[in-house]
Symmetry: C2
Subunit: 339 residues, 2 copies
DNA sequence: TCAATCCTCCAAAACGTTTCGGAAAGTGAT
DNA sequence: ATCACTTTCCGAAACGTTTTGGAGGATTGA
């Protein structure tokens, strides 16, 4: 509650001097500086960041726009782990995080720019928004620095962090091919996700390279959801019983696919190999455990924060970061018996 | 970027009138109000909350002090799900959330009061702090309204939300007793958690009621961790091979215990019944699936926010909320063969 | 016609900082 | 004694709001 003015009074100096003393300016005598610091401690002074931000036009605050902040996100832990990464980096660099709740209706009304300008965040990290989200247009037009997770848009004021999805998908399908599979289905996410396109590309490239023809009807969309993965897998396997392996664009859908397969009397991996993408916690606990492509969600968050803060602090450099993936072999994939 | 002053100039009125017009005061002519609103829209005005907060002494912001914001928290999803609940309620009520990163060293230096006063949060929700955390003392002494998760302290300015841990633990142990078990071990959390004490009480009460003597050596601590649960379970089962059932104070420890038991050649549930606490995602995916006590983490968060905001807005009432638990029977518990 | 009342509006202060431009005093050099 | 610096300090403006206490004019009632 003590202000700079109180300190000035107690120490017998002006507010200017107090401000400059506490902020480490050189034009204040060391003795008076010590005196001022002592008084500040005594009065338990802590600066009012609101007032400071108002004049400095910097809040040392990063806005977080997460559209998937829902309880369902608890299964894969994407949002949470990204958040951890952002939080850690922001902490190190002296920034605080402010969460914009975009779930509620009354907040829905506000535009992206309103949200940011009202709270005067220095920059924003966006996660989980779809490519057809109206916010996205605003983002690229606005000149508020921002970093996108998994949406490859780059400009003066916007950067992005993502995983090498194409490479990851290719690794997964390569792995299946290596095991002898030729009839390989894919359960993809949805059209409104860049990652889906990229993973599809990886799938196609792997097939191409192995001289396996791409068949459109082998690819279905499951919206990244376990339940939808289950129904789509069932349809796919029914329509094409010759399929011996499925690559899913998310672990959750892979779990759903395994359920469907089991219900259809197919053993995993003997009758059907299943590979996922993400390496979520459940992947190592399911039975059979799930072969998958690991992506480091924590690091995605961490790198996002690095990128954004570097932009905020005027560091030059590219505004993108693409992270590597790795293949995690587990029990859900094996050699095809048709070999 | 447009300010109230710009609007005043364009509309040919004073800033006072603009402010009062936009804030819905009655002492402004409807015509001029419309004019002002039109100008505001035209200039894409959005209020500067920093300035407003500075004079109003309200920020419409809730601080979030989460000590367990780590990647390991990804297994149980406690932090995330609580956060979702808080986020949703805060959104509905028009509050934003600010995350204090207490992980980093430089933030460690700051006291609780400094954190709150600098950012001028209206209130705080604390989650995951231990009973010996230095912040806790500050919290109760400070007059900043705050709500604690799982720490039963109540005063003028502090409230809490928790689950009925004693009742939950009792339900679990009752269930085991009903299945015929008499030698029931417990793997508890750690001393620095209130929930541990309460769950132990529930365990004791259930035994008591069934006229089963409480044996101190049947209870060990596993810090809520899967790994530690595993080693403690192994020790316990080695020292007391007569034990036929174990109640664990967290699902993670239960998973660890199952691992240990399996490694010792015990089948679950035929040779050993295992019950957990939390009902985390993994509990329904492990094999065998885990019998456990469900607690609604989302609701804990939601109620915390309700409680805090009610306090902030001067609503009278008790400052605590204790949520119910429920027993989820799955495969990891069954009748003892010794009956 | 006079006073009372109502309806609109506004000037200025306040919130707690930072910063610009300069002022006073001290220090050497010439 | 004068000049040129250096060191140390400060007054005042600025940031963008809200709010207090009224002012001016129109309307009403007697």
């Amino acid at each position: 509650m003590a202000t700079i003015k109180d300190i000035a009074k107690h120490a017998g100096v002006s507010v200017t001097t107090v401000s400059r003393a506490l902020n480490g300016y050189s034009d204040v005598n060391e003795k008076t500086r010590e005196k001022i610091k002592a008084v500040a401690r005594e009065l338990q002074y802590s600066p009012n960041l609101l007032a400071r931000s108002l004049v400095m036009k910097k809040t040392k605050t990063i806005g977080l726009l997460v559209s998937g902040m829902r309880i369902e996100g608890s299964k894969d832990n994407f949002t949470y782990e990204v958040l951890c990464g952002i939080n850690d980096c922001a902490g190190e660099r002296g920034y605080d995080l402010i969460l914009f709740s975009t779930n509620s209706e009354q907040q829905q009304q506000k535009t992206y720019n309103q949200l940011c300008q009202e709270r005067k965040v220095d920059g924003v990290i966006l996660q989980g928004i779809k490519t057809d989200d109206p916010y996205l247009k605003e983002v690229v037009e606005s000149d508020i620095p921002c970093v996108l997770v998994d949406i490859p848009i780059e400009s003066e004021s916007v950067g992005y962090v993502t995983t090498n999805n194409k490479q990851g998908a290719k690794m997964a399908v390569d792995h299946l091919i290596e095991l002898g599979h030729r009839q390989i289905g894919m359960i993809n996410g949805h059209e409104q996700a860049f990652v889906s396109k990229q993973r599809l590309q990886g799938y196609q490239e792997a097939l191409d390279q192995a001289k396996i023809g791409y068949q459109e009807q082998y690819v279905v969309n499951g919206s990244f959801l376990e339940s939808e993965g289950e129904v789509q897998a069932e349809k796919l396997l029914h329509a094409h019983p010759e399929i011996t392996a499925v690559f899913c664009a998310s672990d959750l859908m892979a779990l759903g696919a395994m359920k469907a397969a089991r219900r259809m009397g197919k053993r995993i991996p003997e009758d059907l190999s299943v590979a996922g993408f993400d390496n979520i916690m459940l992947a190592s606990y399911s039975s059979p455990t799930l072969t998958t492509i690991a992506q480091d969600r924590y690091q995605i968050g961490f790198e996002s924060a690095i990128l954004l803060i570097d932009m905020l602090e005027g560091k030059e450099g590219t505004h993108k970061k693409v992270l590597k993936t790795s293949l995690v072999k587990r029990e859900s994939t094996s050699k095809t018996k048709n070999i």
